[in-house]
Each structure stands twice: as C-alpha cells, then as structure tokens.
C-alpha cells in the first residue's frame, strides 16, 4: 500500500466531505485514521457502498455508514423516502461521488466500476473482505460516524 500517497487517499475522503457539504451545507471531517492489522478491524456500519478500481491501481474503496446517519442525511436533503432501498441508493451516490473524484484525481489511466451497495449486520464485514494494511478513515458528520476504507494497490508496469 505504500505506493498510495496521502493525496490519493485524500481524494477519496474529500469526495465524501464534498458530498455532505453540497447536500447539507455541513462538511464531514476526518475523525481518525488507522490501518487494518491483526487485532485492529476495519470499522463497519450497516450500509456499505463500494467502487472497484483497475488500471494503474487495483482494488476497492468502501464507504460505510449507519442507517441513522443516512436517514439524517436524507432529512437534511428534504427527502422523505427512507426505505431500505433508498438508503442504499444514497450510500451508492456517495460511492459514486468517490468514483467521480477518483477519475479526476487519477486521470484516464484508472478504470472505475459503478457503485455496488450492500447492507450488513456483521460488524466486522469489511474486515473479512479488505486486505491487511488497508487504510481506514473514520469520518464524522454531526454526531454520526462513517468510514472510508481504501484497499488499493498500484499495478506495476
């Protein structure tokens, strides 16, 4: 993972921050960050959206948030449809924003998939799918927390 620099990681986190700012006028900020290691899990919330990257980098970037957070987000957006499907769509939209920012940051050499969304009750779900030493960045927005997990590697040319 060492070939991913801080700017690369920020490009994903900034996308989330920008999404919250544009939709609610309040920025989401980085609360803390760490690596997935033995004994330290990737913090998982109930709703997860991810994009897959290929090209000069390979791997996935996950955005995970609680239902409560997404509902509050929808309320701030004056959206009254709070069905599970709509909650997942919203998480997918955040993942899509991450994809858009990634395209801008990495340029044409990066191929980015459409967002895929999942709902889970398994509190360590992310831990079961991400590689060791993936970055976990905890985001705070209002009283809520969310996580961005960056699990990508540069592909050697």
């Amino acid at each position: 993972m060492s070939d991913i620099d801080e700017k690369d990681i920020h490009s994903f986190v900034d996308a989330v921050s920008a999404y919250f700012y544009q939709t609610t006028g309040e920025k989401a900020e980085i609360r803390s960050a760490y690596l997935v290691e033995s004994g330290v899990s990737a913090t998982t919330f109930e709703l997860i959206g991810h994009i897959s990257l290929s090209g000069s980098f390979s791997g996935r970037v996950y955005f995970s948030a609680s239902r409560g957070m997404v509902r509050h987000l929808l309320l701030m957006m004056k959206e009254l449809n709070h069905t599970e499907e709509h909650l997942l769509d919203t998480v997918g939209e955040v993942a899509n924003t991450i994809a858009g920012n990634a395209r801008q940051h990495f340029g044409d050499t990066m191929e980015i998939s459409v967002p895929v969304v999942t709902a889970t009750t398994h509190e360590n779900w992310l831990n079961t799918v991400v590689s060791p030493r993936s970055y976990v960045i905890l985001i705070k927005w209002k009283q809520y927390k969310a996580s961005v997990v960056v699990d990508i590697q540069r592909i050697a040319k």
Partner: protein, 694 residues
Amino acid sequence: MVKHRHSIFAKYRTIILAVILFVVADSLVISINFYGTFKANESAVSINLSGRQRMLSQRTTKVLLLLQRSLETGDEAEVARDLKELDLVVNLFDSTLKGFRDGDTVTGGDGNKVFLTQVDTDISRDLVAKTYVIWEPYLDKLRPLLGGNRNFSPAQVEAAVSFARDNNLEILRLMNDLTSDLELVANTRAHFLRVILILGVFVALGNFAYTVVVSIRDLMRSDEQITKAQEETTEILSTVHEGLFLLNKDGTLGTQFSASLPKMLRRNISPGMNFIAVLREMVPQNVFDAATDYIELLLGDRVKESLVTSLNPLTNVPITTTDQAGATQQSYLTFFFNRAIMDGQISHLLVTVQDVTEQVSLMQRLEQAKKQSKTEVEAFLRLLGNDFGALQQFLANVDQELAQINKELSQDDHRHQHTLNNILRIVHGIKGEAAVLGVDVLEAYAHECEKEMIAIRESGDEVTGDHMLRITVLLEGFYERYSSLSEIIARFGEVLGNKGTQIEQAVKTPRIASQIASLAQRIAKDQNKEVEIFCKLEMLETLPGRISQDLQGISIQLVRNALTHGIETPAERAMAHKPEKGKLHLWCERLDNTHYDFVVRDDGRGIVPERLRAHFVKNGQMSQEEAAGLSDHEIVSQLFLPGVSTATTANRDAGHGIGLDVVVEKIKNFNGHLQIKSHADLFTEFHIRFEITV
C-alpha cells in the same frame, strides 16, 4: 542568396514584365511621335515654301511688267528697284525649286536658312519636273535681266514678259498642285501619327489593365497563402503541447507563441514581453546568470550551436506555484534554444519549452530507488555484523511497537494530542533501538516520522483527524520498511538455519553493553565530544524479557541525553579544569532477592535548576514569574514532560523533548522509582530502583 534572389524575381515576375512592356511601348510611341513631329516640321517647311513659290511666280510676272513700264517711262530709279526685286524673286524661286528637286538649304520665309527636303512622292516629283520644263526656258529669258546688268535690250525684256504672260498661270497651277500634294503628304503623316498615338495609348492602357489584374490576382493569391499560412501557424501554436516562441535579440518575445506557453510558465504572457525578466522570476540567480550567458552565446556567431547545446542551464528547471487553496505544486521545464537564420544572419532564437515533470519525477524515483536499494544493501551488510538473534528480537519488538501505534490510532477517543505523544514515544524508542543495532533504515525513517510529528505538535494548532491520517500514512511507510527488513532477516535466518528459538538467546546475549558503547561513541563523534564508557550490565541478562527490554530502551535514551546535554565538549571541559574525555557509567545490580538498581551517571555539566529556569524563560516556555514560582524539584520535573528539551538545536539524537518522556513511560511499565542526583558541573545520575517478585 542566389536562391533568395531567384525567389524574389519569381514573386515579382508579373510586375517586372509589365514594367518592361510599359517602357518598350512608351519608348516606341515616343520615338514614332518624335519622328512624326520631325516629319511634320519638314512638311510644314515644304508646304510653306511651295506656297511661297506660287507667290514668287506671280511676283516675277508682276516685276517684269513693272520693269517694262519703268523702261518706257525712263524712270531709272524705278528700273533699278525693279531689277533688284526681279533678281531676288527669281533667285528665291530657282533655289527653292532646286531644293524641292534635290533637297537643299534654302532661305526660309523668315529670311533664315532652312533645309528643304527633296519631294518624295511621284506626283510632287512629276510636278517639279514639269515646272522645270517651263522654268528653265523662262530662266534663260530672264538671265539677261539679272545680276544688276543694264545691258539688256527692250526685245529681251519683251521676250521675258511675253514668256511670263504665256506660262505664268501654268507655273502657278503647278506650284498650287505641288502645295496640295505636299499638304496631302503632311495630312497622311499626321493621320499615321494619330493612329500610332492612339495605339500607344491603348497599349499603355492595356498594359496598365494587365498589370492591375495580374497584380491583384497575385496579391489575392499571396494574401490567400499568407492567410492559410497564418491559420496553419495558429492551429499549430494552439495545438502543440510544447511552449514555442521566437526570442528576439533584445530578449523580448516574438508576436506569436503557442497557447500552452502561459500554462507551462504558470504566468500571463504577452507579445513583446521581456523573456529575460520572466526568467529572472523563475530561476535562481546562478541559473539565471548562466542562462543569460548561454542566450548571449547563441545570439552571437562566434560558436557553433551544436557545440554549446550541452551548456544549456535551463534543463529540468523547477517551477513552484501555489494554487488558490495554498497548496504548492512543483513542475519541471526544459528550454531548448535553436538559432533562426535569415539571409545568413542569426535573426532570432526559436525557444521550445517542454514539461519534463514526469521524466524528472521518474528519474527522482529511480534515483530514490537506487539510493534505497544501496541503503538496504549497506544496511544488510551492517546487519551481518550484528548478533542475529538480537536483530530478530528487535524486529519482533518493532512489530509489536507498530501494532501498538496502530492501536493508538484506532482508539476513537478523539484525544489526538495524547495519541500523538504516545506514538512519538514509541517511535523514539524504535529509533533508539535501531540506532543501537545500526539498523539505519529504520532509525532514519523513525527520525523522519519523529520530525513530522514534532512539527505537528509544535505548530500550536489543534491536532486533528487530518493529522491522524498523515501519521497513518507514516505508519504504513514504517510497515513497508519493516516488512522489507524482516524479509531480509528471514532469508538470512534460513541461510544460517536459525529458527525462532534464537529470540530467547538474543535477550540473554551480553552484547547490549558493547552496543550501547558503540552508540555512545557514535553520538559523541557526531557532537565532537569524547567519552569513556563503563558498562556493567550483565544483570540485564537475568531479568525478565520485558523489563530487560525496557531497561535497554532507558539506557539508550539516557546515554543520548548524557552525551547531548551532560557531557561537555573537550574545550569546555578543559576550561572547567576537567579531563577532556568525559565519563559515562551504566550499571545494573541486585540489592537483595527482589530489589534492583539501574544507574546511568555522567560527569558532565549536571542538571542545574537555575539554568533550567533561565532556559525556559529565554525560550518562552514559561514567564519569569512562573519559573521563579516553581521549586527546584518542580522545575526539574518539567524535563519529563512531552516536548520539553534544553537543547538549543534538535538533531537525530536529542532536542525533541521525547527521551525523558519515554524513560518515564518505560519505568512505569515495571513500577520502577526514579531518583535524579546532580551537582552543577560535576555529575548527573539517573537512579532507577525496581522490584521483581516471582
């Protein structure tokens, strides 16, 4: 040059031909006109004189008749006057008729001599010949009366008068016809001249029209070519990725440049702008001086362009810009200069600017990779000199410490400042252990991380989640280096057949003393100090692994501190009447079944509360009043707080205010008790007492 002239002729061929045609046609018309005018003049003389011949024929007859009457009246004066006039008119008629026949100089109407051209038409020649047929017998009859002669007879007069009466009208008619014929010739010539003039005018007009049409056509074609060339140039300049422009001899930019140039130079560019001034803002003074010399060299013609290309100082020029968010960006540009030659003279320099950021970045990465590879090889060679078990133990410790850092980071308790201090202590500990074992790659990286984290701590800003992300990135770098090193050691282990059991043996090896001694000597050398080490640390081998590790860590920190803050330079020691070589003692001893002492003592300048107060006040860490209000114990305790140091400058060995913080934390691990004894300019002793119960 010849080619250039040829191209000029080709370009202006039509105009040149038109001018030649104009000159030839005009010369022709003017010549014809001149000839016609000359002929007209001749005709006018001829017509005038032929008209005079008519008059002379009549006057001859009239004078003859008057002479006859004067003779009859006997008026001698009249006779003389008549004879004189007869002489004049007959000579004039005769010479003029002769002029018409042969061409000759005759007396004109105004009395001046004029050349009378021979008649040149058949009619005129015939008329003159017929006139001669009458005139010659007539002249014979008149001759006795001419030349002032008075010896003529009345019969001779009568004969002349009679001949005149018979032929006067015929001579008049012949002269009339001659005049008419000469007028006809003159008219024909005048008509011819008009025709020629009209033709000349038409030729001139045609030539003018041709010149205008062809010139306009050529101008339009030329304009079209110029427009097309301009469009192509504009297209090239707006498309090309490189920055392109012509540099004038006075250092200004030409009128056209590629669209990418302002973007590459990261500034507004306008035609005629002074490139030298732009360059001055972009590059350091030494590069600027070299660049202006190079440009001057290229603009001169003393050296060959190909010979000085390698002197170009404007290669891989770093350009630093700051965006709106305040973030700095660095790119690299290379400027290529080529002479533009016109008429064999250097007119401009064609400057091509290329963005070589990617190449430079690649080169730097390659260089870094080479350096890293070299460092790793060197580190590996150094590691070979170490105790293998100690290395394995060290790596196991590092693994645990890195995991501990990650755990600290993952504690989502929002106490970032606290987390930062804890991580700093761990990193400092790793740095110390790496230094003891000579694991440069980890020592250097730990130092780098430490510097960044200290910068965060000392910035005075609140430690935020963004800082935690930065530290996480640093941690990843640590893991990366740790993994590489582990892999090397593991392979080394496989070669030597060492297995995991080596770890326990490593702890028990007595090499800690020599390792600390070599670390102390290295630090002393770095700081231009001299020191003698006395270690008695065999007891450490008998202690439980964790306590032994902590005490080793404490040893490293206190040795660093002793050499940085305690022991003076040889010169200072000489002034204080102390031996130039300082002394550093470390020992560990058992007091009874359960109690142990661990001591580090140096004979340096000591910890002096008054000096500490002055230092803290001077550094702005506390006010005069605050410093004065603290007891000696309290002021010394400040040294154990994170971020407090008495060093004037920070280096890799001390000065960051971490070492004693680490010492305290490690002592806490085994519930030890620390006592500090010191005397100004004599010694400092760190005395740790601890208990081990089974």
